[in-house]
């Protein structure tokens, strides 16, 4: 109770309330615009949050992260185009339902399922916080090194069908991190005698280039498109009642979201896929999936909205981001000298719980906002794509230049923007570059401090937690090799 009161006190400020409102409403609007997405918005906002208090800055970013998927369901349901990539499965049943029954029913059900998933994940996390506080102190340098390695392995293996390119990009990310002055011996690494490379390449410059500028360039060079959307009429509240008929699907899907969200590198896509498959297999009407099934829509939306809260677990407990958005948030922690990891749970549990309460509140704000303003958001969806490109490029400048007023940073970001455009056109993964940069840095530091305390490499896994993580790495790789071999056998039989 004392912990809860202390956490509420952290949030009980006008600037936190403003951040919560701006982040959650802004996130819905951004999520609703196909071609923008939370990653672009967070990348642009990141430097602006550095001058804010950690709780204010993180609340804005959490707001955008947690609410963008609500907004992403709107174009997925109405125009068969997901607002954010993770709403792709929502189109399977949302769009047919909107066509067959009414857009109001589909949107209402999508909002309600998202709300259920969001609240479910926050409740799980609040309950898990105490357990994490007990487990976190068992994570020393070697455990964090192995956890980062596990995260990297999972990020690469999660890109099914693109593992080679994901591995290539993860290694590129690690390499980019190493450029500049090495922090212990102060020797130069890959600076090519250029003074501007000595301080290294900033993560935010890379993030802004790969996510924001590349998206702007892509929208500007591709043909102009403008979505046509009709107004939605009628009340939006009935979805909450309908959701209760499918509470089993909603609960299991949210559980998939929480468990997948906690594992670094896995995230929304796997959670959605598992929950959709589960819902279809256990449904009395599996033939309706893909044709406007309410269970399919609930499975997709509940699962993806349960992920943001859960993705904060590895970040807060171990300081290891599981995907690009939490990797960006990590830099906000570092700027304010709040180091996420075991010590955060041991010493600042009220701060962690305050973040969870903020997540809870943002879900409520978003639901209320959407119930009354869906038609207003539809106007934003109609913005032509090239005009969006102009807006993102203009906003991209604020993100890069405000970092340290460096023209070199801007040139680098523009270079990464072109590189990101090529990657997007070729359907190559971008996220492993960011995670490679972040996790590579963690692994370098932690390996150095861990190895100084062990006699032989085998000592590295003598402690229970490190042994468990090491076993997980071996099992994940082994399972992947076995499943690839199985798939190959099936394919060759088919040929």
């Amino acid at each position: 109770m004392e912990l809860l009161a202390s956490s509420i006190a952290i949030l009980y400020r006008w600037d936190v309330a403003a951040a919560l409102l701006a982040g959650s409403i802004g996130g819905v609007v951004i999520g609703a615009i196909p071609g923008v997405g939370a990653a672009v918005a967070i990348a642009i906002l990141l430097p602006a949050t550095f001058s804010m208090d950690p709780i204010v800055g993180l609340t804005v970013l959490l707001g955008v992260y947690g609410s963008s998927m609500y907004g992403g369901a709107i174009p997925a349901v109405l125009i068969n185009t997901p607002g954010t990539a993770v709403n792709a499965l929502t189109t399977y049943d949302g769009y047919p339902m909107a066509k067959r029954d009414s857009p109001r029913r589909a949107l209402s059900l999508a909002y309600s399922a998202s709300f259920f998933g969001g609240i479910f994940s926050v409740v799980c996390l609040v309950l898990l916080s105490q357990v994490l506080a007990l487990i976190a102190p068992h994570f020393g340098s070697r455990e964090i090194f192995l956890a980062a390695l596990l995260g990297l392995v999972l990020v690469v293996l999660a890109h099914r069908g693109r593992i080679v390119s994901a591995g290539m990009m993860a290694c590129l990310g690690i390499f980019i991190h190493t450029i500049g002055l090495e922090p212990v011996r102060y020797t130069r690494r890959y600076t090519f005698d250029q003074s501007w490379l000595v301080s290294g390449i900033d993560l935010i410059v890379v993030v802004l280039g790969l996510f924001a500028l590349s998206q702007a360039f892509l929208l500007l060079v591709e043909p102009d498109t403008r979505a046509r959307v009709d107004r939605v009429s009628g009340g939006i509240f009935q979805g909450l009642r309908e959701l209760l008929k499918f509470k089993r699907v909603a609960t299991v899907s949210s559980s998939f979201g929480v468990s997948m969200g906690m594992i670094p590198g896995v995230g929304e896509f796997t959670a959605q896929f598992l929950s959709y498959t589960y819902a279809q297999k256990t449904s009395r009407t599996p033939e309706r999936f893909g044709k406007g099934s309410p269970e399919g829509l609930i499975a997709s939306e509940a699962a993806n909205n349960a992920v943001p809260g859960a993705a904060m677990i590895p970040l807060l407990a171990l300081g290891i981001p599981g995907e690009a958005l939490t990797a960006m948030m990590l830099s906000v922690f570092y700027v304010h000298n709040v180091i996420p990891g075991p010590q955060l749970f041991a010493n600042q549990l009220d701060f962690v719980v305050a973040l969870y309460i903020a997540l809870l509140l943002l879900n409520i704000i978003v639901l209320v906002f959407l119930m009354f303003s869906t038609n207003g958001i539809l106007r934003i969806i109609r913005i032509p794509s090239r005009f969006l490109g102009v807006m993102i490029l203009t906003l991209g400048f604020v993100g890069v230049y405000s970092l340290r007023n460096s023209i070199t940073d801007c040139a680098l970001a523009a270079g990464f923007g072109i590189f990101g455009l090529i990657l997007k056109r070729l359907d190559l993964p971008i996220v492993p570059i960011i995670l490679g940069m972040v996790l590579g840095g963690i692994m370098e530091v932690k390996l150095r401090s861990a190895m100084a305390r062990v006699q032989t490499p085998l000592d590295f896994i003598e402690r229970p937690v490190s042994a468990i993580i090491f076993t997980m790495i071996v099992l994940v790789i082994g399972w992947h090799i076995a499943s690839t071999a199985r798939a190959r056998r099936i394919r060759s039989r088919g040929d």
Binding site: V164, I174, T178, Y190, L220, G389, G417
Partner: protein, 174 residues
């Protein structure tokens, strides 16, 4: 068997990108001895060379597999068109850099308004509504980021020539 494992969906321009990435990886790997150092009397795990070496070795191996994957996969037409599209993005990167260079001279507000309106014109919008919207977006961005959030963007040199009160206001908020 290896062909089955490496075969993938190949986009136009895939092989060009894969080959360039492999060449870059090989070039960087060949510079390992010059661009990093091996410090005597230091354990292997603390060597400055360790992580660049590991990452570049990984990059090269994966890039090699990626080239092999591109070669064994079915080719799709449109390589030239695709590469032209990549090159067209350079124009917008130049627009962006021009914007970056002009802001410290002309100031954030005027540059942003002109940039947004000109880029809207360049991308094919000719109607008054869209150009006005671009101007309004430019003003809104400056007001929110510089005026409200107070992000660090230097004042334009032209602001120095403005009369007293307006000069201070523009330097601080615009």
């Amino acid at each position: 068997m290896v062909k089955h494992l490496l075969k993938r969906d190949r986009h136009p321009g895939d092989l060009v990108f894969a080959a360039c990435f492999l060449l870059l990886s090989l070039f960087l790997l060949s510079r390992l001895g010059h661009e990093t150092s091996w410090v005597g009397g230091t354990a292997w795990y603390a060597q400055p060379m360790l992580w660049p070496a590991l990452s570049l070795a990984g990059m090269t191996v994966f890039a090699l597999l990626n080239v092999c994957g591109a070669v064994v996969s079915d080719r799709r037409e449109g390589r030239g068109r695709e590469m032209l599209l990549w090159c067209r993005s350079i124009e917008y990167a130049c627009w962006f850099m021009l914007y970056v260079w002009i802001v410290p001279l002309m100031g954030y507000l005027p540059t942003t308004v002109i940039f947004a309106a000109s880029l809207a014109l360049r991308t094919g919008y000719r109607d008054r509504t869209t150009i006005s919207a671009a101007v309004l977006v430019g003003i809104a961005i400056v007001v929110v980021f510089k005026g409200v959030l107070e992000v660090k963007i230097p004042a334009g040199q032209v602001y120095e020539h403005l009369p007293g009160g307006l000069r201070n206001f523009m330097i601080q908020y615009m």
